[in-house]
Every structure is written in C-alpha cells, then in structure tokens.
Amino acid sequence: MKNDFLEQVGTADEKYIEEVLEYRSKKITVSKKKLIAIALAAALGICALSIQSIAAPEAFEDPAVLTDEPGRISTFTPSKHETSYLKYDVPYDSRYTRIEMDENYQAVLDIDSAENFAFNYLEVIRLNDDEGKFSLERGDTVNVRIEIDLEAEGLDDGPVEGAREGVHLTFGRAVGDHLIEIENFQPDDDTDGVLECTYTAPTTGEYEFYIQSGEIPWVHVKSISIEKIS
C-alpha cells in the first residue's frame, strides 16, 4: 500500500481543516526596498512584471535595470501615473536575472505564465571598512563570517526543487558595477547558523566585498563580519 502518507494526513485536526476552508489568498507585493533584485533561477519562459508608481513623478528619472547572467542589460522606465507592464523573456541559459529598482518603485510580480520559475527577493549588501574599501596586499587573507537565522520570518518564496543553485547566499567581490562571486553558500536544515569562508587577495589593491542575501526563511542574515586575518 503506497498511500500511507496520504492516508495519515487525514489525522489532521479539524481546526486546521477549517483554516484551509476559510483561507483567503494574498497578492504578492514588494515595495519600499532600496534595492530589489529578483532572481529567476533556471527558468525558461516569460516573466510578466508590472511596476507601479509609489512616489513623486520626479522619481522616475532613473529606470529599473535588468541584468541577466550572460550580461544582457536592459532598462525599463515605468510610467509616472499608471501601472506599466514589462514582459521579460528569460533566456534558457540564465541562472538568474537581477531586476534592480529603487525605493520609489513598487514591483508586483506575475509569474503565472511560466511553469518553472523560482524566485527570491535578494538584497545586495556592500561590505566596506570605515574608509569604504579594503586595502589589501597580494596574499592578504580576509575572513567573512555570516550568521544566519534559520527560522526567521520572511517572504515565503523560496526556490523550487531542482532550481536551487545560485539563489541562496553569495559572498563576492564588487568591481565597479560588476559582482564577482567568490563563495556561494547554500544553507539547508543541517546548517548550524554560521557560514564562513576566506579570500586571499590575488593582487595588491582596493577591494570591495559584498553579500547577496535572500529574504527567504532559512537564509535571513542576522550579522556579517569581515576582517583581515593575515
């Protein structure tokens, strides 16, 4: 008998059954983020993204920017007074696509048109010392320590099975507008809450590091520290 699991689910208390029967859905809305990056992992299809005004008209001088992993960049300027719609064709080989906009935009995602979308709302945190950047000699090593809260409440949109890589937590180096990945963490239920890695500078110069984190329950970042260890 292979239906044991399904059969046993029938032991749910009536209060939970009533909850299901009473439940009403909510629309997914993201707003008031300084930077919103939306990662679309291993996806193929069309993402319909609508962007709405939540600010004064002068806020619309800067367009939203889309960058996908092969490096294709496109911009999008929302209408001042009405909802604008953007249909974005996600390429097959894209591991993720970043859609960045400032706090004056409100993004409402509609991903119903694509079957296998996995998406997260990601935030890029630049890690600077007091002077803005780390001055490192060739061979210097820095240690980054990220404490995560595995149970944190967050936007409940995680990656789907089979599309997890690349959308969790990334430590990297920022070179101008480019983000170069150094370590990609994929915390799971066995992670004890602390992620660590080291980076050795290949050349002498100024280094700027970043963490890209997702506001999904098991990768909510509690604290980040970075220090030179040699």
Binding site: Q8, T11, Y23
Partner: protein, 183 residues
Amino acid sequence: MDDEKIVGLYFARDELALSETEEKYGHLLKSIVTKALGSGADADECMSDIYLSLWSSIPPARPESLRAYACAIARNLSFKKLSYNLAKKRSADLSVSFDELEASLTNDAFAESIKKIEFREFFNRFLQSLRKESRVVFLKRYYFLDSIPEIAADLNITEGKVKSLLFRARKKFIHEIKKEEKA
C-alpha cells in the same frame, strides 16, 4: 441554515439534518470523494456512507465545525474504500498522481515509522509548526488532494511557489518524523 441549527437537527433525530447538510456541504464532500475515488459508483456509495456516518455519530459527537467534521468523515471513508479497492486490485494507486512524493514517504519503511510513533499527535504538532500559508498549501494538496494548478489558482500564487512550499514542508516532515522516531 447555520451549522449549529443543523447539528441541533441531528440531536433531535430530524432527518432534515441530512438534506440541510447535503444542500450546504454536498458539493464540497463530493469533491473530496471524487478526487480519491473518481466519479463512478464507488463515489456515490461513499457519499451515502458519509451521510450515514454523520447520522450515526452525531450525537454523541457535537462538532465545533460541522464542515470540517464532515470533510474528515468524507476523507476517511474515501480512503477506506480506496484501500479496499487496492487490496482487491480494483483501482490504480492514488500516489501515482502525487509523483512529487519522495520515496521515503511512500516506501515500506515509512509505513513502519508511523507505527512506531503517536502519529496523530506528531502530525498535528508538525502542522502547528508550519507557517499558515505552508500549512494551507500542504493540506490542500495532501488532505483535499487538490492539484498544484488548482491550489495556485485558488490561492492566487504561482505554481512554482506551491511546489516550493510543498517541497519545504515535505522536507521538514521527513526530518521531523526521523527525529521523532529516534526519540
């Protein structure tokens, strides 16, 4: 008619209770039954059994939610019928339609696991530990046997999100049941 009055009719042994239940919840109960058994004679027979069971169990039972109580009866009787059919090889295995279920939830070891623990108590603790949206999606899929597209449409979320919530909930379920078994 509100549920309290219908339950009152059951207590008064007034057969109007059955027609009122059928009028109010017949469609919901039928959908549960047909998802497990299809829409043939088995489903019709099961529907009759549900009303009979409601009639014989109320009183003494006085359900707080007649709707949830009737759903529980509908589901349990459907699965009893399904088990009977499977034993007699008269039906395809329902879990074929749930191909996202990991082997660890459908193999004999799982059947052994649930014998070793107080499953009902464990399972309701597990449900309590889920966030509300995850719990609703989990029960819609595995209690009400709704399809992933149906859940997505009903809750106004994407199919990807439904899959994601189910994947995480199942993962947590497997983790918790192993922990419970060891304890």
